[in-house]
Symmetry: D2
Subunit: 370 residues, 4 copies
């Protein structure tokens, strides 16, 4: 419940945007797994703000200190304590709005939930900044999956009405899958990326913001992992993906488009090649009955537009319930979906490692086709 997650892994996230620090404890990792801190830093840099105009100009070091559970660059098997200190916080920017509910934010609901005792500075525990420890924990999980030949990659599929080239559901090579993560802007098609950035910049100049869709694919994940009915691949991934602030929808494979299809269209014919089973198409998105099929796992997460916009909006003072008008100041990403890309990778990595650790043999059947 609350900021805890996981069945076989246990993740516990803590912190407020302007408090003493944020972080996480990740318990249940296998012992003896190398953790490459440089690679982790590069991964976290993808989430960090300040890279270009599409993200907030706040500069966060966001380099996590690993307090425990890793010794000499290798996991101990004991809980990994992760600490990120808060810096560059200008609380003054937020002072005036403390009692005005920012539309699209959790100010009002948080006030009700916590009886007004929660720390509202910078969004407090609701801040997008809390995705930093999630990304750090997930970045470690991603490396552990990589040791098992499992590659997790995501890109910004839609933003500002522009589409990137979708991942081929039936599978792509690892090199292609990693392109968006290695690019300054997380897309496959740089022209599409440029068009997205132009739309995001246009929104920013309009004192507005845009939403986006992140698409994530996993190749190399073994078949036979996941537990029906409620411990399936989809349940477990969705349970963590909806923990990324602003996520409003999650779909697998053909997803909502499957609802528009006929069975003859949507069913993925099984085939065999060199004695291994695969499906011709991958509308199922890598899981049938909650259990991985060995086909790429394909998930998309919809993110709403950044709710903090500089335009005037109608709202109420949540302490008095009196109506008011508000323009959100401060520095905010006009499209939070850009920085959500590595967060989705992190969440998916945690979910899949959790599933893998819960598999009967701790490794699934050796039947991944990719």
């Amino acid at each position: 419940m609350s900021s805890n997650w996981g069945n076989h892994l246990k993740l516990s996230v803590f912190g407020e945007s302007h408090g003493g620090g944020i972080g996480a404890v990740l318990d249940g990792l296998p012992a003896g797994e190398p953790v490459d801190m440089e690679e982790l830093s590069r991964f976290l840099a993808r989430r960090a703000p300040g890279k270009d105009r599409t993200s907030t100009p706040r500069k966060e070091a966001d380099l996590p200190e690993i307090l425990s559970g890793v010794l000499g660059g290798v996991t101990c098997g004991t809980p990994v304590g992760i600490l990120i200190r808060n810096t560059d916080t200008r609380s003054g920017d937020y002072g005036a709005m403390q009692a005005l509910a920012r539309p699209g934010h959790a100010d009002y609901t948080g006030f009700l939930r916590y009886g007004g005792y929660n720390d509202v500075r910078g969004g407090g525990h609701f801040s997008g900044r809390l995705t930093a420890p999630l990304a750090a924990a997930g970045g470690i999980a991603k490396q552990i999956l990589a040791h098992r030949g499992i590659t997790v990659g995501a890109h910004l599929l839609r933003a500002g009405g522009v589409s990137d080239v979708p991942f081929d559901p039936a599978g792509i090579d690892e090199e292609t899958l990693l392109v968006p993560g290695n690019s300054p802007f997380p897309v496959l098609d740089t022209d599409a990326g440029d068009a997205m950035r132009a739309e995001i910049e246009r929104a920013r100049l309009d004192l507005d913001s845009v939403g986006g869709v992140v698409e994530c694919m996993v190749i190399g994940f073994p078949a036979g992992v996941g537990d029906p009915m409620f411990g399936g691949v989809e349940n477990v991934l969705a349970s963590i993906l909806f923990g990324i602030p602003a996520c409003k929808g999650v779909e697998f494979g053909a997803g909502f488009a499957a609802a528009e299809m006929r069975g003859s269209e949507n069913n993925d014919p099984f085939r065999a090649r060199e004695g291994r089973v695969y499906t011709e198409t991958n509308n199922h998105g890598g899981a049938l009955g909650g259990i991985s099929s060995g086909m790429p796992i394909l998930v998309r997460a919809a993110f709403k537009p950044t709710p903090s916009i500089a335009r005037e909006q109608r709202t109420v003072d949540y302490r008095t319930n009196i109506e008011a008008v508000l323009a959100v100041k401060g520095r905010h990403d006009p499209c939070l979906a850009v920085r959500a890309v590595p967060c989705v990778e992190a969440a998916v990595s945690l979910a899949l490692l959790d599933l893998l650790l819960g598999a009967p043999s701790g490794k699934g059947a050796d039947t991944s086709w990719n």
Copy 2:
């Protein structure tokens, strides 16, 4: 994990389609809640097959026996044991296909997951029949919510390319919300329903099937319930909704459409009326930061087309990995989304009761507008 679900409630579902019986244990219900067995039967009848050509002609009694936890029509507070005996099972229909993986089904993945030891007759533990105990448990939760002034209703929003009138996100009256559940076909607009049925029948005659989208709304749910980051309304609902077989996508409020909007469009302005806060629009779907806002909770679940179709499909024998051709015999719904409507209501009811029981006061703030 597996067929267990819940934080404050604990649901444990068991059974195979053609075994000795299916059922569930639902633990953690409050004591002293009336359970109206007639109402429960009517609710379950909505899920039962055999009502018209859009559903399978199998006749199931599916009337659950409540073994424990309810005495004199009132909950005891102790675990509720639910048993449904299996009847009218014609195993012969399935015999021939036991080693041929039905496309879109969990035959292949289940074989890998359970090493071939699972009961495959009628889909075994993967059968849509397992939604009967889910519906029974959820039907009880739905009644308990109703005692608190919370109404859960769903309809078939899309099927066969036809749309029902969507629920007004900003809220509808209870009477309207209950129309689909009281209708022979679960829609608001009977013309749309007739068009859907025609499309479903057309698919059936084509030896094919269609998918659909179920939309569920909850009115009267108190504000201030739900726990960020991973115990939020969206996380908890998604974690159980993806447990309904064939569910491939879940979205809240504007959902995937929010990703196409600008912030100024998607943000729901806060307003106050008679001292109570509400939002003008409801793109957020009733939860901000994972916490209920007092606005209607709005969720949509996408269901793929029934995978069992009588057309010939390519597949493999999963014991030998040799390719083959298969036409699925037996009796199947051409559009499983129709019977999924009450299942979604059941799952949503369980999720919301779980959230409510976990709320600090066990009841949330008294700020629901509806």
Copy 3:
């Protein structure tokens, strides 16, 4: 919470003594494990009442129906549904006392907990009868452990002031470990058993009852299993053992006696023989730091005397809080610890299988000495 237990296994127990039936769902068992129903029946017969004067003359069939999860005598990997119908219930015996709190029973606390809505007939959900589904689930776990060379055995170490020969903590052979379970009275030393029975019979004639201590040993359990700090062998075993009604204490190895020792006495020196590590003595009871050492696991559980006694006792009417006098009628074991012996074996088996399934490799290191 409540009647749910387990991390890697999930046990959900339901039922009331005089309701429609009692049972359990056991989820998370590995697939492909043979389940010998005859052996299970013999195991459950050890818990069943009516064998001699030391147990209640109620005759229960208590033969469980396995509703799901086992096919052709082999586990499917899906949840095992267990149902035991209630028979031979004479509710009349209990009618008069419904509002008089039986001392030592949960009548009063149950009334408070459930607001008077719980089923009090025969003790309801608090009845010792609820150990029948626990024993059935545990009996299956015990067989699965046996397939891995792990033997679980228990005996009545103390009753009525008489001691059986204690298990040698450093280890005993499997044959000896199984003697009590195969005997009409669960002790190693039949003379001690006769003396215990005489004391129990004396108590019965005095309209009284006696307590007892059950000692359980496990040999063959692999080393390296268990998770500090809260998922250790002791935590997990205690969490389920205290679920057996009337259990008031649990200790491991030297237990409370260790508190009276000096370190030089209590520390178990490590030794090696044929390249395998063992300890000379076993004051630690098979777990150090919560992790199994490969030495026998040794646990003792204290059971209070049967609270139902025919003597007059002071009490109150818990609906009126008026004082009264009560003599408990009905048929009761004068020493419930006798029938607790297989229940302890069942609980220990479930706990150890849960730990084993959570071990990194699902099997622990191959270093058990026994």
Copy 4:
């Protein structure tokens, strides 16, 4: 599992004795609870070493930094992050013994569990030092209980063969209950305390150590809290108490002595006074059927003697399995049970707050007699 604990509260402990820091995340606390940091410091000082010869001369600041979840001295309702930096660590003392399994320690079992990857310096994650974050989290829970009129107190009942005056099971006044915690040595009877200290010092001079029993009583806890069968008061308390290193036994009320009694002796007669129910005696220890009775909760935990002793002991090198002789150097408490007293209070406080938060009304019935 592992270093996670709790149902309604979630505690996640991390850290190694000589790593970057130790700490905990405590999630699920109610919002708006004052946290008195001075009082917390005084509480933690009771656990800190270095006070006299009965404890290790290591000087630890052990003052926790609260990173989140508390603002202006009041809980926010969000996760409380607790960090304690490691200082005064002399790793050199431990270097020589790294591959020699210290008898009574988890060196050998930890090696097997973590494949040799765990941090063994100072005991690593198994160190008694890990009770510092447990005590910090529990100290906060203790304050929250105190706001509800619930007082938790413990004393050293037995050590070195000497007994303190036991708590009167039927109840003591709050002032008396707090005496041991406010004393330099945690006993009621200072003469007994002096005798214990003499025995502990004698053991130290003998290069040896002694065990002890901690007795904890809770007054003011409401009746009607706790869930049979596995969420009962005893199950929940035991599940965390066995997480304190060196705890080998836990008993409630009369505990193991109840096993020696007759029912007529052990049953606690119910009485009523001024319309409130109580029991004449308190052999049940405050819980019947797992549910609190309103009588004082009474629990005892047995601690083995400090395993680190300076005497020569037989052991093995756990990397080579070759026998050796070892004398443990470094600074160690000759009787760890002394410092375990506040740890038991902390663990009991966490357990009872967890139970309370899970009670139907979040507060239990208002029927505590004390």
